[in-house]
């Protein structure tokens, strides 16, 4: 436990240093925050536009889909904020910068994450939180959700950060063998996350199986929300969700540790 605390305090110190370095270029932060909020809000405008044409999407109305969208946005926004270096991991492999992480007496992942954060990406999460609040409010008014269930949704949104994070960790670890992973990361991250903006029931069975059984993006929002909205599943969805996500995260970390051993560094 003391190891964990010292790791955490070191991470925070490192993040502080990263922030100080960022503050050399102050203007970027506010611009970035607004930019990401607006950019990601357009995503939802598109979904909303679709829903005005087809008021019910697989039996879900705009507020219900908004719940899914909000949760996914919070999770990915937080991941992009805290996992900035993981998202840009190819550089560490191509330039051999991973060497420096292995030379520090700490877990490489912790050292890596501490080197940079992108707080402007919070704009994305913020935008998701606003849409989530609006939709949750409406669903409480209509009596579909109670306060406790909304609390669960909020907690699941935060915990759900582990889903895109683990996807990124898994694909970054593939890089220890193949080096070039930018495209793979984009592919494995964006397609499933975009898919998770809609109820998975609109997809064919094989895709639904893929998005819950293999890449557990379904557990980031759809699986628990489906049950909470009374559209299927059972109470198991509520406790299975954190278990699956935690399990997937552990699996991804295990793969990362395995990959470390295969790191080939660079020529010189």
């Amino acid at each position: 436990m003391s190891g964990f605390m010292s790791g955490l305090s070191l991470y925070l110190r490192s993040v502080q240093a990263a922030m100080r370095a960022k503050m050399q270029y102050k203007g970027d932060f506010v611009t970035g925050l607004l930019l990401y909020a607006v950019l990601s809000a357009t995503d939802f405008l598109m979904i909303a536009a679709i829903l005005t044409r087809f008021p019910r999407l697989g039996g879900w109305d705009v507020y219900e889909v908004g719940l899914l969208y909000g949760m996914a946005s919070i999770a990915t926004g937080l991941y992009r904020t805290l996992g900035a270096e993981l998202h840009a991991f190819e550089r560490y492999l191509v330039r051999g910068e991973f060497d420096a992480l292995l030379l520090r007496p700490r877990p490489t992942l912790l050292t890596l994450l501490g080197r940079n954060v992108e707080p402007e990406r919070l704009g994305n999460a913020l935008q998701g939180a606003i849409i989530l609040s609006l939709c949750a409010h409406r669903l409480m008014e209509t009596g579909v959700l109670d306060a406790l269930e909304v609390a669960y949704v909020a907690a699941a949104s935060l915990f759900g950060t582990l889903v895109p994070f683990s996807l990124a960790l898994l694909t970054a670890a593939v890089g220890f063998w193949v080096v070039r992973v930018d495209e793979l990361q984009t592919f494995v991250m964006y397609a499933p996350v975009s898919a998770s903006h809609y109820p998975l029931t609109i997809y064919p069975g094989w895709l639904r199986a893929l998005l819950t059984g293999v890449l557990p993006v379904g557990f980031m929002n759809f699986v628990p929300v489906q049950y909470l909205l009374g559209k299927g599943g059972g109470p198991w969805a509520l406790w299975l969700t954190p278990l699956v996500i935690a399990g997937f995260a552990l699996l991804a970390y295990g793969f990362w540790r395995l990959g470390e051993r295969h790191y080939q560094s660079t020529g010189t």
Partner: protein, 341 residues
């Protein structure tokens, strides 16, 4: 002298896969067994004692960096073992790197946009250096490297020499018993080089830090190292002192002798070449074949000797000869490489 860094039959084979573009290409590369093998390090063994200052030489691509990276736990050997202070860097990475300082001359570990102090403080926290120790270390290094003046300057504004000084302090901050230096003087001017050499000599003597240094700068080796290891084509071709390396290569030593009167007749003796200019004679001889005393004895038959000047072969020439011989790896040098301790 007890060993602090050991390599036992160390080997690293890289499999270079064909580069394929795109996601599918990357995935295929993951499973394919195509490609060729490169033996970067091909079975080398050595043992470095506590407090030794060892130079590690070799042409580009000979396997120097690969060796260092295996010693530091960055790479996993294909076979063989590494021991640093009795521990395997591959199995106990964190414990080993606590005992290590590493400096790569061509890239800094410091935070680019922040003052040097920020990086040092972060490192102190990372290695659990107590505040009192931290201050004492900074004070000591300020005396040796005059870093006080650059502590509050952002790293990106430092000159190359200043940055190297900052990197050296960063590497020594947690007082590691072993430090690996990869080209620490590369690109520096003469003054900066001299200062860094003085620092290295000082910490090696005073703190007893064991240092393994790779360099292309022969002055680094001549001035600092009590022992040299030479690697070529992934194999150790020499391990011993600098003097022994000169002998092993058979690079000619030169002796210039001044006679009281110009000597007569063709000069015959154990030398390989002789040139005469009045009373002065210069002979080149191979130290592996005869000693300087024998040369003097032979020369003294041609008259009374007034003065003698010795010219040892430049280590640069020695290295050139060493690398210039493609067969050197398996050649006569192997027999001489037992010079290590």
């Amino acid at each position: 002298m007890s060993a602090i860094v050991e390599a036992i039959e160390l080997r690293k084979v890289f499999r270079v896969a064909k580069d394929r573009p795109g996601v599918l290409g990357a995935l295929r590369g993951l499973f394919s067994r195509e490609g060729r093998e490169i033996r970067a390090v091909d079975g080398i063994s050595f043992s470095i004692g506590r407090g030794e200052f060892v130079g590690y030489l070799g042409p580009n691509g000979a396997g120097k960096s690969t060796t260092i990276k295996m010693l530091a736990g960055i790479l996993h050997p294909t076979s063989g073992e590494v021991r640093v202070d009795g521990l395997s860097p591959q199995r106990s990475r964190k414990e080993v790197v606590r005992r290590l300082g590493v400096v790569f001359g061509q890239r800094t570990q410091a935070w680019w946009d922040l003052p040097v102090r920020d990086t040092l403080e972060l490192l102190a926290a990372m290695y659990g250096v107590k505040p009192a120790e931290y201050r004492a270390t900074l004070k000591r290094f300020d005396e040796l490297l005059e870093i006080g003046a650059i502590l509050d300057v952002p790293v990106r504004k430092l000159s190359l020499g200043q940055r190297m000084r900052a990197d050296l302090v960063a590497a020594w901050l947690h007082r590691p018993p072993v430090v690996f230096l990869d080209e620490p003087t590369i690109g520096l001017d003469a003054v900066a080089k001299r200062r860094i050499r003085e620092f290295l000599r000082e910490v090696n003597r005073q703190e007893g830090t064991t240092i393994l240094l790779t360099t292309h700068d022969m002055d680094d080796i001549e001035e600092l190292c009590s022992r040299v290891m030479v690697i070529n084509h992934g194999r150790l071709v020499y391990d011993g002192d600098v003097e022994g390396m000169r002998r092993a290569v058979g690079a000619p030593s030169r002796m210039r002798v001044e006679f009281a009167a110009p000597p007569q007749g063709p000069l015959v003796g154990p030398w390989t070449a002789a040139a005469q200019a009045g009373p002065a004679v210069t002979v080149a001889f191979d130290r592996s074949r005869c000693t300087a005393a024998e040369v003097i004895a032979a020369l003294s038959r041609y008259g009374q000797i007034r003065d003698i000047y010795m010219e040892e072969p430049d280590i640069e020439q020695v290295i050139e000869r060493l690398y210039g011989q493609p067969g050197a790896a398996a050649g006569p040098l192997s027999a001489l490489s037992s010079g290590g301790r």
